[in-house]
Symmetry: C2
Subunit: 388 residues, 2 copies
């Protein structure tokens, strides 16, 4: 691990700022209490950080009043970890319990914090999910029938979309070991390995170079391109003429990088190298279009102009926000009019149809600065590196 790694975690002020921005938005929207059930929002507003969310058994509830500190209504197993995150008001219940999955305690706490007839803000819109049993949510609405439930997805997406300097440092840092792993890949991977063996070798490189987790690694290989970009590796052996692509979401201190690299296995057809060069140029055009005030759709059109036939494989966008999740709001699409702001961290991810049901994609990561984009990845070479 490199010596120049940023500080882990965040200073308390970071969470105070996030909460204060949330509460400003709540006041503007007349929301008395914000209600969250999802990992990203728990971590964003409190620093509560655990892989234990992978266990589906227990729901977790976070309440943020319009003023004052957040209150966690959580299973007892998380209380110590939550205390360490700095949350002072923790209401814990024994879980699993025979019948009640925390709803009793949650209802009491909502009434205490917000009172009858209050407006409760929750996430109901794009890119959200309800991470609690739907029956419990319905029961809660019935028990607290005087409450108004309002969607605050827009507010929360807007908050999370602009990263603090401390967040940017973490994403930037996650890109470094992943980038070094990509640079070392030609030494660790060779013709005749299966896709799966190549994936395993690459995961070990990423860990050796200092990522915390290789949480996401998809890609594939095929003669002159690949058929989709979300599949796990197959047992197929890498052969001359293949293009091998790794798309990795490596995590450092809870923040993702998300970029990919293509490799030529031996010699690939000139048309394939040309297609890769066009993706490279499209990414340049995307970078040139990136500045505060430009819209996501401007970036899309700048890239698409260099890619006749444009997006293939149903990717549906040419990049997206990036941070605590592998992909975040907004999306680089023809219709997303979200304006770029300094501090937004984005991927540029153009794709190209190369015929025969095959495609190439390419992805880099950047942060929007006052004067334009700052790359967090180092640019892939215009010509794909060759693996022997």
């Amino acid at each position: 691990m490199s010596a120049d790694a940023p500080q882990r975690g965040f200073v308390a002020q970071e969470f105070e700022n996030r909460l204060s921005r949330l509460q400003d938005g709540m006041r503007n929207r007349n929301i008395d209490l914000a209600f969250f059930t999802t990992e990203a929002e728990f971590r964003y507003f409190t620093g509560f950080f655990t892989q234990f969310w992978q266990s589906p058994t227990r729901p977790w509830f976070l309440l943020a009043p319009q003023s004052g500190k957040p209150v966690a209504v959580i299973p007892e197993i998380g209380a110590e970890c939550m205390r360490r995150a700095g949350v002072e008001d923790i209401r814990a219940w024994d879980s699993p319990a025979a019948d009640d999955r925390g709803i009793e305690l949650l209802c009491e706490t909502i009434v205490e914090l917000a009172g009858e007839g209050a407006s409760i803000g929750l996430l109901k819109g794009r890119e959200t999910a309800l991470r609690m049993p739907l029956a419990d949510f319905e029961a809660l609405k019935q028990r607290l029938s005087s409450l108004q439930f309002k969607d605050i997805t827009g507010l929360v997406l807007q908050l999370r979309m602009v990263k603090s300097e401390a967040e940017i440092e973490k994403i930037a840092h996650a890109c470094q070991p992943a980038g070094r792993a990509f640079d070392r890949a030609p030494d660790a991977i060779h013709t005749g390995m299966s896709e799966r063996e190549a994936f395993q070798a690459f995961k070990i490189l990423c860990l050796e170079e200092g990522v915390d987790d290789v949480s996401y690694l998809v890609g594939g290989a095929g003669a002159g391109g690949y058929r989709d970009i979300i599949s796990p590796p197959s047992e197929r052996k890498l052969a001359a003429g293949d293009v091998l692509m790794f798309d990795t979401g490596c995590v450092w201190d809870g923040y993702f990088c998300d970029f990919d690299r293509n490799f030529a296995i031996g010699e690939v057809a000139q048309a394939v190298q040309d297609a890769h060069a066009r993706l490279w140029e499209a990414t340049e055009a995307g970078l040139e279009a990136t500045r505060p005030g430009a819209c996501c759709s401007d970036l899309f059109h700048a890239m698409a102009a260099l890619l006749p036939g444009a997006s293939s494989g149903g990717v549906g966008r040419m990049g997206h926000g990036l941070g605590m999740q592998l992909t975040e709001f907004p999306s680089i699409t023809p219709f997303d009019r979200t304006e770029l702001q300094p501090g937004m961290v984005m991927t540029l991810e153009p794709s190209i149809d190369i015929g025969g049901g095959r495609m190439l994609v390419h992805e880099e990561n950047l942060v929007v600065r006052d004067d334009g984009p700052l790359l967090l990845t180092w640019r892939t070479p215009q010509r794909m590196p060759v693996i022997g």
Copy 2:
């Protein structure tokens, strides 16, 4: 990777069996169409397997009629991967789209498959979540107001709880490389390393030994025990007298192992070794109580009898089901009357309070066979291995 690895994936018959058991249950409950939004159910009923679920942008919908094959209503980006999984009827939409997140297509497809007034089964109960925007679900209910939505959580948990031989093979296989990594840990970890460095070294061991992913690794170290069991590693350096615990969910072909090991850093107090021995004995008692027809609560009481003061740190249970998810239904609690059946894969996970806010946990994995438990992990030694 070992030469005796089972076959990857499943034969088509596996999915036919799962669907047929679901459809039997649907007929018994007068459910016309089952509706799923979650990764585990997609994969269980179709074999659709991708890490892309980590991107929150797109919802995915699976419909299973009371007879006939399942229909996937999914974003175009997943269509190729879904086709490869063997699903024939795929209705794909371009995603992200400006407004419609697939609800138009989903509504049409539901009406086509089930008709007006049909009963739609969905997951609303324990251990479930709604992985789609709540606003979209509410819109769907409003548009299709003649439909009845019924909870089929019990049915699906019961189906998934009993594993096929092919599933058991995968879980058993996931335990092997993780077990070898635990055996090698004393050679790779030493006093003076930070917890984080120890975690990284252990993850690399797991990958070298042949797991696909170290999807879950929590634990910690502390003088004579640890304070909670869900935290990520700290920068604290391992010191003589510590107990170091790794609890790992390693994945092989989409199936988890979930077990832990405790290590003594140098010499630990005799009382701590004694506490570990009591956990070991409690696990033995749990194994002895494991047989078809016994209840989860029987296993709890068998283990708790040897652990005065019983569960600490709010763990709330002494084991759980295991499979495609790190933890699955049922739970080993005093109140869970679920009867063990042959083919159920479970963890036994007793915990003990050792005073001063510190605890020890221990976990093994087993499959229930006609004549009792078959261990999938090899038993930890009664005395904690020492790391120098």
